[in-house]
């Protein structure tokens, strides 16, 4: 079995996001970038399945500018076997990502495609679902547990009401939740070895995919500043304020 893992380069989750003055986007110059956290869970799970002898190869793929390669390198350092970097500059939308991934799937013919449930930069949560539709493959989203059973997967999903367990046929798409596993650290010797693993470079423009924007971004803004709170002296005053000023009770 072969597993394709899609990983995305995003602004590190610890960095405080700053909006560009002209409202055209966020500032990414000299900002620490990392792999989208649930994508790390996706890679970890794929590598675990391989280590359990149930998969022969894990291929990591990323789509983006030159530096997005670092994200593939990181996946290689924690156990992926080889990488693919689809080069494209600028922001691309989930549908374009899904279409590029579809081309990669057609070329690589994996049995499973893993990715994070959503990316922490745009929070779209669409790529996995769109890829599933494009390929006409079953999907299991928000996975917090995955069991490989012969030609099937048993996936436990995080849903509003609790946990849902579904069984799907392979080939399939699985999007991963942060609860799925604890991603391992890349060890220093493995980072060294990862430098020698191959990364295939593709150009998005050569794949015959329409990557043009379908969404017009009007403006990026910071959320409004929260007003400073006040201290009330008694419960009575609090109730009075909630009733008369906030009008919530």
């Amino acid at each position: 079995m072969k597993i394709l893992v899609a990983v995305k380069r995003v602004v590190d989750y610890n960095v405080q996001i700053r909006v560009k003055e002209d409202g055209s986007g966020i500032i990414t110059d000299n900002v620490k970038m990392s792999t989208n956290p649930p994508d790390d869970n996706a890679t970890e799970e794929a590598v675990k399945i391989k280590e359990a002898g149930k998969s022969k190869e894990v291929v990591a793929v990323t789509i983006g500018e030159e530096k997005a390669q670092e994200t593939v390198r990181k996946a290689l350092a924690v156990g992926a076997d080889r990488g693919i970097h689809v080069k494209i500059d600028g922001i691309i939308e989930p549908l374009a990502v899904a279409k590029i991934l579809q081309k990669v799937v057609e070329k690589e013919k994996p049995d499973l495609v893993f990715m994070g449930k959503q990316a922490i930069d745009d929070d779209c949560n669409q790529t996995g679902q769109m890829l599933s539709a494009l390929l006409n493959w079953p999907q299991a989203t928000f996975a917090s547990k995955i069991e490989v059973k012969d030609k099937k997967l048993e996936v436990t999903r995080e849903i509003d009401e609790g946990l849902e367990t579904v069984e799907i046929n392979i080939p399939a798409i699985v999007t991963c939740d942060l609860r799925l596993n604890e991603p391992r650290y890349a060890s220093l010797p493995n980072i060294m070895k990862a430098k020698k693993k191959p990364i295939e470079q593709l150009n998005a423009s050569d794949l015959g995919v329409d990557t043009s924007s379908r969404i017009e971004q009007i403006k990026v803004e910071e959320p409004p500043k929260r007003k400073a709170g006040i201290k009330v002296s008694s419960v009575a005053e609090l109730v009075q304020k909630l009733k008369n000023e906030a009008k919530v009770i």
């Binding site: 590190d12 000299n30 990392s34 604890e182 391992r184 650290y185 220093l188 060294m192």
Partner: protein, 539 residues
């Protein structure tokens, strides 16, 4: 369990200006050398904080064509001001009356973090193996006592010291020579200085704490290339310190404050002095209507020549501010750190190729301009023990008339942890409330640093005696850690009338002030799990 080991020609600990310079210079001298550089931050530059007005002298020697290499050194200093502040007034000091060392017209306003990122790219292009997110946590020794290398930290240990599922053991990195370039108060450098008595016969090292904020300001207040320094208010005559205001590119102003850690009043809060400083009419006018986008703090070296330890030992070199090469009156340490890196590389090259002893470092150092600079600067900082006014008069005579060649050397008498007076003998300081426009609290400030440490890991701020903060330090000094820490790591919490000393180590921005200033040297800063700490952008 025995750890995996990897061998290199040279191991460099720390990806700041001195470590990166060593790596680049070594590769220039011999591209076949295997060099490994460790950095505790998640990426090169993320733990770097500096003013910074940059003198290019060392860079000119290292990469003479730096202007063609798309370096982030762009904003030339165009104008300079030096102000004395009283509470509401300011007095401008004519720049021609400033000592030579404080004139900056040939220098550049830069972000040192960005310079390091760029130096990191140059080093990698030359084949240096750089590993960010891997702190060196332990020094390895050979049987003969010489330094063998370092071990990287074990990853995935919980707060009780047990291995988590994600446990990944550290590895031994073994080098013919190991270079320690951790910056001011490096935790391994500290051990080396002690073990090899590198500071024997030297004055105690002197430190300061430096704050920096980056503001995006109104066009009308911005004057790209303007460099401004102040002395005086809000500090009293007996406290050493001053501010910097650098107008950088993109309408940004680098605003900072440095306070000598030899201050005496345990009630002094360096953070609050800095916040208060911004409310001075002259400063408020610059930043009003602007937006604070970054905050950070870091301890720095102030001891200079008298306190500079021996920088070589069997198997290793100690360079940059891990030793203490900052030039205090110049308020600059990047060029000297880089020069010490160049000398280190030349030393190592000869040591490996011609089997020479590392002690040749000293002769090279003493014959270079860095020695001359530090020698001439040596009397400035200690003269401020006599107070700001006499310090300035003396500095004028020493630096302008005698150009640092007076035939005597003033001593640093005390280490910074010895200078606090008992709380009951000193006056409490009431600091103004934060207005969240010009001044801010520690919590919202630390938020801007992007600091994080993985949950559930051992506390990296170790107390030698866990009872001492409450039984002694609180009693005698009203626990100054609460105030000297710029990140709100330390708190005294009262639970049912019992005082508890709380360490919020996840807030730590790796400034090392606690390790320096704690009156009983009870706090030992060790490396947390790799990648932890601040994520500074263009600091």
């Amino acid at each position: 369990m025995s750890r995996e080991a990897m061998e290199y020609d040279v191991i460099i600990v720390g990806g700041g200006p001195s470590g990166l310079t060593t790596a680049i210079k070594l590769k220039q001298l011999d591209s076949s050398l295997n060099i490994c550089l460790l950095e505790k931050a998640s990426e090169i530059g993320a733990h770097i904080l500096s003013g910074n007005v940059f003198e290019t002298r060392a860079l000119d020697e290292l990469l003479p064509n730096w202007k063609d290499l798309n370096s982030p050194i762009k904003t030339k200093v165009k104008k300079e001001k030096f102000l004395f502040l009283s509470k509401t007034k300011s007095l401008s000091w004519p720049t021609w009356l400033l000592p030579n060392v404080q004139q900056n017209h040939k220098n550049y306003i830069i972000s040192l973090a960005n310079l390091c990122r760029w130096l990191g790219e140059q080093a990698e292009a030359l084949g240096v193996e750089i590993f960010p997110g891997f702190p060196a946590s332990e020094i390895l020794y050979n049987e003969d006592g010489s330094v063998k290398g370092v071990a990287t930290q074990d990853m995935g240990i919980d707060k009780d010291g047990n291995k988590k599922d994600s446990f990944e053991p550290g590895i031994d990195l073994i080098g013919k020579v190991t270079v320690f370039a951790e910056g001011c108060r490096g935790h391994l450098g500290k051990q080396l200085i002690k073990k090899f008595e590198l500071d024997k016969g030297k004055d105690p090292q002197q430190y300061g704490i430096g704050f920096k904020e980056i503001w995006e300001i109104d066009d009308k207040n911005h004057e790209e290339g303007l460099v401004m320094h102040t002395a005086g208010w809000p500090l009293d005559n007996n406290t050493y310190g001053g501010s910097f205001i650098y107008h950088a590119e993109n309408k940004q102003v680098f605003l900072g404050y440095v306070i000598g850690l030899d201050y005496k009043n345990p009630y002094l809060s360096p953070f609050d002095e800095f916040q208060r400083f911004k409310t001075h009419p002259v400063i408020r006018k610059i930043i009003e209507g602007g937006k604070r986008i970054s905050y950070g703090a870091r301890a720095l070296i102030e001891g200079g020549f008298q306190s500079l330890p021996k920088m070589f030992m069997p198997g290793a070199l100690l360079i940059g501010c891990d030793a203490g090469t900052l030039n205090m009156p110049k308020i600059k340490g990047s060029h000297t750190a880089m020069k010490s890196g160049i000398i280190a590389a030349e030393t190592i090259f000869e040591s490996i190729k011609e089997n020479k002893d590392l002690s040749i470092f000293e002769d090279k150092f003493n014959k270079s301009w860095i020695y001359e600079e530090l020698y001439r600067a040596r009397n400035v900082k200690p003269s401020f023990n006599w107070g700001l006014i006499i310090g300035i008069i003396f500095t004028g005579i020493d630096q302008i008339l005698f150009r640092g060649k007076l035939p005597f050397t003033l001593k640093h008498k005390h280490a910074d942890h010895e200078t606090l007076k008992p709380a009951n003998k000193m006056q409490k300081i009431e600091y103004p409330k934060y207005d969240n426009v010009i001044t801010f609290d520690k919590t919202s400030s630390v938020y801007l640093t992007g600091t994080n440490h993985t949950d559930n890991q051992p506390v990296h701020l170790q107390l030698k005696d866990p009872n001492l903060p409450i039984s002694y330090t609180l009693e005698k000094f009203d626990e100054p850690a609460v105030r000297y820490c710029p990140a709100g790591v330390y708190e005294i919490q009262k639970e049912k009338d019992i005082n508890k000393f709380v360490i919020n180590s996840q807030n730590c921005i790796h400034c090392k002030t606690c390790d320096i200033k704690e009156p009983s040297q009870n706090i030992n800063w060790v490396t947390p799990e790799g990648g932890g700490g601040p994520k500074y952008g263009n600091m």
